[in-house]
């Protein structure tokens, strides 16, 4: 046992910091005992009593901070010193380079030429700060939700008046000047401008455009409620108008859940006025209306991307006749693979279970499944009679949006933290009737550092359980990512393959493949 100490002379750190230091130091392997106190006479007496007093600690004065540790071996001490310095510097507030102002006014003063404010504070306070940003002529990305719809209207009207972007509330994805913001992917630069009222919907379109060798000029999020009657598409229209005069943008893509008819008309009229070619994906909404205005509807998010890329070099008439290929791989290969998966399933197995981190990807799955197979349950069902009856484990065919509020109380969102999905995967292993598991693996900034890696243990475990029963669990995953994303795409792919997961390059392909397997057994 070695006793060592670190003394910070004349140092005043608040009690929370001191507690954190004590806990962190005690948690280091090889630390037997740690005492973090000011160097008063009585504290030195205490240190002596517990065998932590040495010449150095003796010399401390009451206004010095003493961090005394008893170590198994003194090799650990350097790590401790480093850790402590890290923690102390993080909480320094006397004006060094990483100085953070406490108010938006302070930040604006420090960066007067700022042009974008990203806000992710609690909703009840966020609206006020967003307004301050707009009044200071800054564009806003409002990530926070729980902002009232009345406030949203006020903010967007103000933004329109001042000619600014008011992306949100509840806007999770944007990519301005090819810089991914909040939850977004690294996509090649190009001439397609996207305006999205849906987070993962926008992400999927972005990455598919990149995969089809196209690129984006701007990706503007509007927040989930923009196309509701009360807001009337204010920000989507604002974004369309901006893209209409943006020289870099030649093709526009709109994506949103089906809007109210009047709002759809308003938006399409603005798009018409803009004069550029466009693909409109109202995810299962009214296609006729879109065609009426001379734009191209999309059947899936991948399809929207495909058609947008084609539009760059082709006429509307030509693209209208095109269809996004069902699969990347040759159809024979797919059929063989689907058949071989289906063969491994046992008689009892008949259900598909989707576990999603992206709400729109879950929604797309529901739509594809119900169109091609039949009834499917969900916590975000297509119609009320298919509301999930077993929230903890799922029932029948179902696809669950695990990012929905009820699954994220007291837990981080599944795009960041995989705990919820890990547990759900294991629960599916208990059900003999489950045949196929379908997952979305979302890469990009904001997401988990290793989405695939964080799920493979549980996938392997689940497969083991099925095997022990003489059954087989087919696992399909759609990767929403690009080669430019911080999580290395190829590594993510190989992790999935290694775990026996059939990885597809898009959500639509993953769903289609899963449906093919299911159809073989039905």
């Amino acid at each position: 046992m070695v006793s060592k100490c670190l003394i910070k002379a004349n140092s005043y750190y608040d009690s929370v910091t001191l507690m954190i230091i004590t806990k962190e130091v005690e948690a280091v392997t090889g630390v037997e005992n740690a005492v973090v106190v000011m160097g008063t006479e009585h504290n030195k007496e205490l240190l002596d009593n517990v065998g932590l007093l040495n010449d150095e600690t003796s010399s401390a004065t009451p206004n010095d901070l003493v961090i005394a540790v008893k170590l198994v071996d003194d090799g650990v001490f350097e790590d401790i010193v480093k850790k402590v310095e890290e923690l102390l510097n993080k909480r320094k507030t006397d004006g060094d380079e990483d100085y953070c102002p406490r108010t938006i006014e302070g930040s604006i003063k420090n960066m007067p030429d700022s042009n974008l404010v990203i806000i992710s504070i609690p909703g009840e306070y966020a609206g006020v700060e967003a307004k301050k940003a707009l009044m200071n002529d800054k564009n806003v990305l409002l990530f926070s939700d729980n902002v009232s719809i009345e406030q949203e209207k006020e903010l967007k009207e103000l933004a329109v008046k001042r000619g600014l972007l008011m992306m949100g509330p509840d806007c999770g994805t944007a990519c301005i000047n090819n810089i991914p913001l909040a939850f977004a992917n690294v996509v090649k630069k190009g001439n397609i401008g996207i305006v999205g009222a849906s987070g993962t919907g926008t992400q999927e379109i972005m990455v598919q455009i990149d995969r089809f060798l196209g690129g984006v000029s701007q990706v503007i999020g509007t927040g989930g409620r923009d196309l509701k009657a009360e807001i009337g598409g204010l920000m989507m229209i604002q974004a369309i108008e901006a893209l209409s005069v943006d020289e870099a943008t030649e093709v526009i893509v709109l994506v949103s859940k089906p809007p109210a008819y009047e709002v759809a008309e308003k938006v399409l009229q603005a798009l018409k006025k803009c004069g550029k070619k466009a693909v409109v994906d109202f995810i299962g909404g009214d296609e006729e209306l879109i065609k009426k205005y001379g734009f191209i509807p999309a059947t899936t998010l991948e399809d929207a991307a495909y058609k947008a890329v084609k539009l760059c070099n082709n006429s509307v008439e030509k693209v209208n006749k095109l269809e996004c290929p069902e699969f990347d791989k040759p159809i024979e290969e797919i059929e063989t693979l689907a058949k071989s998966e289906a063969l491994k399933l046992s008689n009892k197995q008949k259900y598909l279970r989707g576990l999603f981190s992206g709400g729109t990807l879950c929604d797309e799955t529901l739509k594809l499944f119900s169109k091609n197979v039949g009834d499917i349950y969900s916590n975000i069902p297509l119609s009320p009679e298919f509301k999930l009856t077993n929230k903890e484990k799922g029932n029948n065919n179902c696809a669950i949006d695990l990012g929905d509020d009820e699954y994220t109380v007291g837990r981080p969102h599944p795009m960041i933290d995989s705990y919820g999905r890990q547990q759900m995967i294991l629960k599916q292993a208990e059900d003999e009737e489950v045949a196929i598991l379908i997952l979305d693996i979302v890469l990009g900034y904001g997401s988990n550092e290793d989405p695939a890696g964080s799920l493979v243990e549980q996938i392997k475990q689940a497969k083991k359980v099925f095997k022990a029963r003489g059954q087989y669990l087919c696992v399909v995953a759609g990767i929403c990512g690009t080669k430019g994303d911080p999580q290395v795409y190829d590594e993510q792919l190989s992790k999935l393959n290694e775990a026996g997961v059939i990885a597809m390059p898009s959500n639509a392909q993953a769903v289609r493949f899963a449906i093919r397997v299911l159809k073989e057994v039905l």
Binding site: R102, S144, A242
Partner: protein, 60 residues
């Protein structure tokens, strides 16, 4: 030219307020960003905790 189009022709200079990970990731990409260490007014921590629970910062 609206300010939005001006934005399209400028370098992004971002003020971040809330989740620090957003600022950290922008810094990683070489974007000019200042992080605002916003605090809720007296008390009121529970809402922040709820938001943080929904969206935990990445640990690096």
């Amino acid at each position: 030219m609206s300010k939005v189009n001006e934005l399209f022709n400028q370098d992004l200079k971002v003020i971040n307020m809330g989740l620090k990970s957003f600022a950290d990731e922008l810094k990683e990409q070489g974007v000019s960003v200042i992080h605002t260490d916003w605090r809720p007014p007296a008390g009121g921590n529970t809402k922040m905790i709820n938001l943080l629970n929904k969206l935990k910062s990445k640990t690096k």
